[in-house]
Point group: C2
Chain length 337, copies 2
């Protein structure tokens, strides 16, 4: 049986779920692909790292106190043996952070990268894809742009050949949950935000969600993927959040049977691309009005196939982990590893 | 520039749209893949065939009176030079018809096949896929199971790695249009059916749509694709149509805010697969209630990623043609031709 070595960078709840899913699916991988996937290293900021070129058990991986501390990112990349690196570390939207270093180093070392964190992609997607091409490896990121909800991979595979005219998305589970709780259950903004935090789906700095930055980051990555010639800059995207919404707004919308949703958009109808994030109001006959709780949704309008809506993919660590493993299985299926 | 030879079997409105789309997208193919696609043959039942190993112009292809008549399927397959055959001929659900012969012959000749017609797949999908594998070519059929609405390819690529627990689909544009017209515009069944026929979306024998056979055929292909070990037989699927619906039913549903939809389903929740077609009633908060006119929709429930809805892909010859060309571009992109 072929062995495939995987290293995980960043080890919060998504990273843990990746390790657990890999164990759960081990028989499937063996049966379908005659492949055995071994986690050869995990690096967790602050806690340190663990690595073993012959593979680590789930118990070893979950035993964080045993991690070797005091080593840098650079040390990890030098020590670990991997065919694929999965980056689920924190997103840094100013410098790209250690993710950007890991990804660059991995690609240079001809290691495929699966990226769930967004910072490095938002800032450097074009140069990273070029680096991947130069080194004949892949940089995949299905889980970065709304986790389990298929976005980039839906457009890329299911609409292959069509021109994309418009993309709209409810891409942040946290803001959708907050809006839904305010509308349906009459919660205040603060109480709804607390609920999102308790569910563990809010970003560490929740204003990143509620001011529209998280949606903007995802729209930015989608736009850079499908509209390569445009010069899309994260910090110059038009942005709106949901913090300004008052109880009066909510009552007014409820009275008029309107449903508020925070929407990321890319419009390319007349060859002038515009992209951003804005609060939109939908009638109850619009599919976005039915996207409740921490679910997400996408609308794509094409030239030859008409329009499509996808919804679902509710935010959860296991769903995000499954999105990362979708990319891993894509590499295996297409014999790219 | 590399040349890719394509032959089209069956030449109704979808076939014509394929030829026209190939011409419209020629520059894109050249730019993206450095490839020139040439239609080297078209075969139209009753009218005969046209072929030229150096490629045919769109004018030649559309000039049906100039087709050579009196030749058989076998003659066409012997004469035409092709890397890919696209089958958009009529579906025969009893014997598989000439489609089945074409597909078998093509696969044996190591020619990739893209199939939009359903008859041969419903009856012989397993053996045809095996034949394709034996001959190291591909049999693709994204357009056969609800045309532009991604079904098989959505599950295969976007949910890769997850276990599929339930699939439900509004898979027939005609029956959805009829139900919608009866509910929204108070049309009788017959008038609504006439409207569907005038739009050119009904099957030649419309009872195939309205008695649930068309949905059953699509569910059968999806089930055979993802639940290979089950013994799924088209003629033994549980089936329900929409012909029995009375004005009284419509009034009752309207009064109770319920929306009728003809739904194909595959249920595998407890490892006992059940599949079929039935009329279901949805509340207005269910995404299927918003799937109006000739649109279609799919719901998929997975183990690790939760549930997804896709809707759109309204029935139209150009959208179906685009679905077939999605498969063609998949072959090119993955260097399979």
């Amino acid at each position: 049986m072929k062995k495939l070595k995987v290293a995980i960078v960043g080890f919060g709840s998504v990273g843990r779920n990746i390790a657990q899913l890999l164990e759960k699916r081990a028989d499937d991988y063996a049966q379908k692909y005659d492949i055995s996937i071994q986690i050869t290293g995990v690096c967790k900021s602050r806690s340190g790292l663990i690595e073993n070129q012959h593979g680590l058990s789930l118990d070893e991986i979950l035993d964080i106190p045993q991690y070797v501390s005091g080593l840098t990112n650079h040390d990890f990349m030098q020590r670990v043996e991997a065919d694929v690196i999965i980056d689920v570390g924190p997103s840094d939207y100013v410098t790209g952070g250690s993710s950007l270093e890991y990804i660059r180093q991995a690609l240079k070392n001809k290691i495929n990268v699966i990226c769930v964190s967004k910072g490095a992609l938002v800032l450097e997607l074009e140069s990273l894809l070029e680096l991947a091409t130069q080194n004949r490896v892949k940089l995949l990121y299905s889980g970065a742009t709304a986790a389990a909800l298929p976005t980039v991979d839906f457009i890329r595979s299911n609409l292959l050949g069509c021109k994309i005219l418009t993309i709209q998305g409810i891409l942040t589970g946290t803001t959708n949950l907050i809006l839904d709780e305010m509308m349906q259950n009459n919660l205040s903004f603060d109480d709804a935000l607390t609920k999102a935090k308790n569910l563990g789906i809010a970003e560490p700095d929740s204003s990143f969600d509620t001011q529209g930055w998280d949606t903007a980051a995802k729209i930015c990555i989608i736009a850079k993927t499908f509209f390569k010639k445009e010069n899309i800059d994260f910090y110059h995207l038009s942005k709106q959040g949901i913090e300004h919404i008052t109880q009066l707004d909510i009552e007014h919308w409820r009275l008029n049977s309107l449903v508020p949703r925070l929407v990321g958009y890319i419009d390319c109808m007349d060859h002038n691309l515009s992209a951003g994030v804005r609060l939109e109001l939908f009638e109850k006959t619009h599919p976005f009005s039915l996207v409740t709780g921490k679910n997400k949704a996408l609308r794509v309008l094409t030239d030859d196939m008409g329009e499509f809506y996808i919804s679902g993919g509710a935010s959860s660590p296991v769903a995000t982990a499954a999105a990362a493993l979708k990319d891993l299985e894509y590499l295996i299926l297409n014999k790219l590893v």
